[in-house]
Amino acid sequence: MSTPILQVQDLQVTYYTDAGRAKALDNVSFTLNSGEKMGLVGESGSGKSTMALAMMRMIKPPGRIEGGKVIVDGTDLVTLSDGEMLKARLSKIAYIPQGAMNSLNPVMRIGAQMTDAIRAHDSSISNSAMTERCMQSLESVDLKREVFKMYPHELSGGMKQRVCIAIGILLKPKVIIADEPTSALDVVTQRQVMETINRIQKDLGCAVILIGHDMGLMAQSMDKVAVMYAGKLVEISTVRQMFTHPFHPYGQALIHSLPNLDNKGVLQGIPGLAPSLLRIPSGCAFHPRCSKATEKCMVVTPRLQQQPDGRFVSCLLYEEDKVTA
């Protein structure tokens, strides 16, 4: 297809907590073409938000980006100066936050919160042009123009979420990361917001990373799915591959735990607990919970490798032939 708009290479983040060092992101690498939509799934605490924040260079102490590259449209964000990074936010890469409910300043009008974002990137733009762009942005997320003059408390949850999206697309970024944009909304609103995101993605032709837990939503509107486990990407494949024939045992367990008519009434989960990032199991981090684990899995750490069908998997089951070959 087209050239990759986003390349993440060996991204590493560590949180230095009182209890020890937590490797929240361990050598994460993937690429995304422009116009592609990737879903990012994984248990709570697996590091999804951390990845998004690291890409925005918004990891705060006690966390630190230890290494890696985030190349958007040819520029490596990690090496930018702080000032350049400020400009890159929203214009190259935008983040739509996890808790849209509280993400808007309660004492400022929506309009002011949109224009200050534009103003920060373009000090020469005229006020009327700025207002016009905000209005367009609001309309493109199906909000009325009046919202511009309103305060956050006058909006519903879904509307606030849309405002956040409208802010995210103000400067037509190349990559949009949406962190669980629908998790606090009811089902109908969820669908509407997802449709909005899809349409905007088409209009702008940008790449989208959607973080979430709802596999159904992922299946419906994403192109690719990436599975994260204990700070590592363990499988990246197309939606079709993922849902028909997942490779990684964790991915398989995720898909099998989805309710369907066949296993009605049985709530399936993945046995065992998600590991603490402070004490990640040796070898493959998933081995204590894996039904197919061998002794080797406790010692050898698998690497993310491309499979013949194009997907990436990090599991010794699929590494073996290559190692022996």
Binding site: M58, P106, M108
Partner: protein, 331 residues
Amino acid sequence: MYLVRRVLFLLFVIWVTSTIIFFIPRISPRNPIRERLAELSRSTGYAPKDLEKIVQAYNQKFGLDKPLAQQYAEYMGSVLRGDLGPSLNQYPKTVWELILEALPWTIGLLISTTLISFVLGNMLGALTAWPKSPRWVKGLMAPMMMLQGVPPYLLGLLLIFFVAFRAKLLPMGGAYEIGTRVSFTAQFIFDVLRHQLLPGLALVLSSVAFWALGMRGMGITIQGEDYVNFAEHKGLGAMVIFRDYYVRNALLPQVTGLALAFGQVIVSGVLVEQLFGLPGLGGLLGKAITANDYFVIFGIAFFIIISVTVLMLLVDIVYPLLDPRIRIDSK
């Protein structure tokens, strides 16, 4: 509707307070007139034989011989008409005259110090809680915590000792150099300012700490808020986030605090005026208390309670302008 209820409530507060401050000195066994006359005779060495008669006469003149209930009704009536009565101790001056003489001093001192410390304290507090500010700013917090509790009177005492008594940099007390005439010349104004410096500093020091600590607590809470994070995601500069997202939100409860703190500010001011021998309400109150001068005590207390309630009302009116979530009618 809310405002009307609020005004009625505050009127009620004023009425309750004035009733309390009317009755307390009058239940007292002390009689200001007898005390005053006794003092006069002590200082002049002349003891009138019919002292009791004179006391009676004065009691009658000021209406103090009537039953309490009647005195109360009559006096409240005159207060409503704006007449606070005569001073018992400095007759024939009226209470209003005395208050108006003292008021400019107190207002000047309190308003300027409150404004300075509110602005300075909130700025300091916001900065100490702001993660990006330098270390030495954060280090200011420890002395602030201690300072917050120390009454300005004591700070004033130390200032007098070190700055005025030891270093002889500033005058130890008084409103202006003894012997100068009250006038509006530059020289006189400069002299007054010089005399106000220490009392002002004493008041500012501890209330700066008070506001700084309050603001710091708010600031720490606000920092964790999603909207501050999202503002950073938008690529806004630190200054804009600090001003529009952080300070504006953290400041809201502080504005409400302003009205509540005002009572304490007045008390501190009164004490500091007493310490420095300034001719403001504090000095007046001190004299009135020593002499049990009912009407002056009532007048000052009444005046203070009115200013406190008016300020509360003002905050009620201004607050909705600052916080769009609150509308006056919504309550």
